[in-house]
Structure formats: C-alpha cells, structure tokens
Chain length 193, copies 2
DNA sequence: AAACGTTTGTTGTATATTGAACAAACGAGT
DNA sequence: ACTCGTTTGTTCAATATACAACAAACGTTT
C-alpha cells in the first residue's frame, strides 16, 4: 500500500468499478447469495478479471471494507481531534466531515452492519481506527503518565460504538449535531486537551 | 452501427467514459477551450485512447451528439405519435417520456443550445428526427394525397422549435404539461389521425 | 445415488489500453 | 521575430483486460 510509483489507470478503474459494484449488489443481496458473476456483470468487467485482483469473494469483502475505511479516515483527517494543541473548531469540523462521509455512503455502512457479518466490520473499523490513532497520538501534556493502550482502546471503543448506534438507528440526528455531541463527550472525559 | 456481434467490453466502457467526460467538460467550458487532455483526464483514460476512437475534437462532438439523440429517440419511442391508428394515451406517454428525457439530461441539451454551435445541434436533431419520422410515417388515411415531404418537414420543424424553446427558456412548464400542449397542437393541425 | 444446472477458479490467446516519447503546430507574452 | 509552454497527433513496447473454454466443486431435484 501507499506505493510511490503510480499504478496503471486500468487497475485503478477496474478496482473502483468492482468496489462500487460489490457495494451495490451487497446492499441488495445477502452476502452468501452473491456470485462473482453478479459483481462482474454489475461492474461491467470480465469475470476472470476479478480473480486477477482478488482471490476470493471473501477477500473482496475484506479489501472492500479496508478500502472504504481508509478513505473514510483519510478524507476526514479524523486523527486531528486526538492530537495535542488541537483547535476546537478544526476538531469539530473533522468530526462533522466524518459523520457526513458516513451519511453520504450510508448504503455501504448500513449494509455492513445489517448483515450477519457485523463483527467483521466492527472489528475492521475498530482495528483501523485504533492503529490510526496509535500513530498520531501525543502522549505529552494531558496524557502524560497515562496508559497509552487504555486511552486508545477507550477512545476507539466509545467512538465506534457511537458510530454504530448512529448508523443502525438510521441517522436520528444530523451530522452537525452528532459532531457536537461527541466532541462534548470527549472533552468531558479529558480525552483531548 | 447496429452490429450483431458484441463489441469488446473495454471499447464500450471507454466510449461511455469519454462521452460522459465530454459532456461534463462541455457544460463547464466553451467548446473551443476544451482540450483533449481535459477530456482524457476527466474520463480517466489515456489521451491516446481517445484518438483510437475519434479522429478529432470535432468528430467527438458530432458522435456525441449523434449518440445522445439516438438514445433520446429510441428510449422515447418517439415515432409512435406520428403513426396511423395511434392510441391517444400511448402517444401522450411517448411525448411525456421525451420531455422527461430532455429534463433528465438537461445539462447536455442546454449546453448544446447555449454554445455558438447551436446550428450544428439544431440541424442534427432535426435531421435525426426527420429521417426517423420518414421511416415510420403512414401515408394512408388522413395523409392520403398529401405531400409526404412537406408533412415531415412541417412536423419536424414545429417539433424541434418547440423543444428548443422549452430548453432555452429553462423549462417553464413540466413535461406533462408540454406533452399535453404539443399533442393538442398536433391534433389541431391534423398531423395525427 | 444419479443427473442436472450453476458457480468456481484457471488457463491460453487476442486485443484494447497504457505510458512515454516524439516532432509539429499553435498562442501568448516579451 | 523569437522564445516559451501547451496542445496535438502519432508511434512503440509493455501490460491489463477480454473472451472462451475447461475441469472441478457445489446445490438441487428426482
């Protein structure tokens, strides 16, 4: 991942097409009933081409989740809110954009959570989030003397749980509201400076 | 055109991508200012690939117009309303779907008409419509003894003019209303049975 | 169990597309 | 007039994808 040399346009295109197609079919059919052919037809791609990039239907599922989470994280610069010297407005904006991202890709997230494979998704997002926080967390200042692992785990768990609740309950509140609420909760728990 | 043997998926995909990209860029930039690179980048296609399918920027424009008009005509089964023994409701539905098609692809049509190249587009759609009517028109019944060419020309001109007016004036009336009006006008002029 | 259609991976060859380079034409600015 | 950056077509070898065929595994039905 994160290769410097640009990948061939064709690869990027077909992967995108496959991903999009998979998400669409996934939101319509139970995962077990999905065939590779369903996906290839929807993506307008040869069936064999899928095997060129993914070993399996399950591999495709996992990579698809990974990709989506990566995009979510990076497009939202989520980690800002956990850093030292964080600007309050900046952090709130990051949170808001995160909830917005989920809202825009609601199809994907709700499908993921409504399927039987909930745990896969949950673990995936939590793992992703955890490592993402781990890289950027600043243990100075308010976090000095604290147990890093515990902070991370606490934050990630609370956060993922909130996201899950929000998604499963069909977005009872708008992204702005959610961002405000979550931000307040983090502050109250001294998670941020 | 209308080849029996299926074309390679890649060709269809890239042509679609190029078409879409061209329309997008066309709606943002004046035609003369559009570069092949603009289109290739938007379509996520190599610049050379465009030359594989189109000789020119102008060729691309023309083919794009053709394609779109073909789709419009066929998707609307427009010719129904000019045939003998036409069912009133069926004809109105065809008209309505035509106006709906334009509304859905408003970006394209308004771009076409707002550019300096209005005449190209106008002539294109009129030629397309004319030949389409020519194939299907029934000279029996009410049209017996009439000059076929004149009927066709009259119909096509009136129709295209109305479309143009509707598009340029930013859709002052909904498709249903337009369909009703146009249908009444045709009846009044004894164009249909 | 046997027969059936469907799905799965895999393979070989054909082909469309890529990326890079090129010379030529163009347009803008000095 | 001259330079500069951009756009245009064109070429080439490299590569990703298409298509078709295949045997194996699977799920259903009888």
């Amino acid at each position: 991942m994160a290769i410097g040399n640009k990948t061939d346009r064709r690869i990027l295109r077909t992967k995108e097409a496959i991903n999009r197609a998979f998400l669409e079919v996934f939101s319509e059919k139970e995962f077990d009933r999905i065939t590779i052919n369903d996906i290839s037809e929807r993506a307008n791609v040869n069936r064999g081409t899928i095997y060129l990039h993914y070993t399996d239907k399950y591999d495709l599922l996992n990579r698809c989740i990974e990709d989506h989470l990566d995009k979510m994280i990076s497009s939202c610069t989520l980690t800002k809110f956990i850093q030292e010297k964080v600007d309050e407005n900046e952090a709130k904006e990051a949170l808001k954009s995160l909830f917005n991202y989920i809202q825009e890709n609601f199809l994907f997230f709700s499908s993921m959570l409504s399927s039987q494979k909930t745990s896969i998704f949950r673990e995936g997002i939590q793992k992703n989030l955890t490592s993402s926080i781990q890289e950027k967390i600043d243990m100075q200042g308010i976090n000095q003397g604290m147990d890093k692992e515990i902070i991370i785990e606490f934050t990630a768990t609370a956060f993922v749980g909130t996201l899950e609740w929000w998604i499963i309950n069909q977005k009872p509140h708008p992204p702005e509201y959610m961002a405000d609420q979550v931000w307040t909760l983090f502050k109250r728990n001294n998670i941020t400076s």
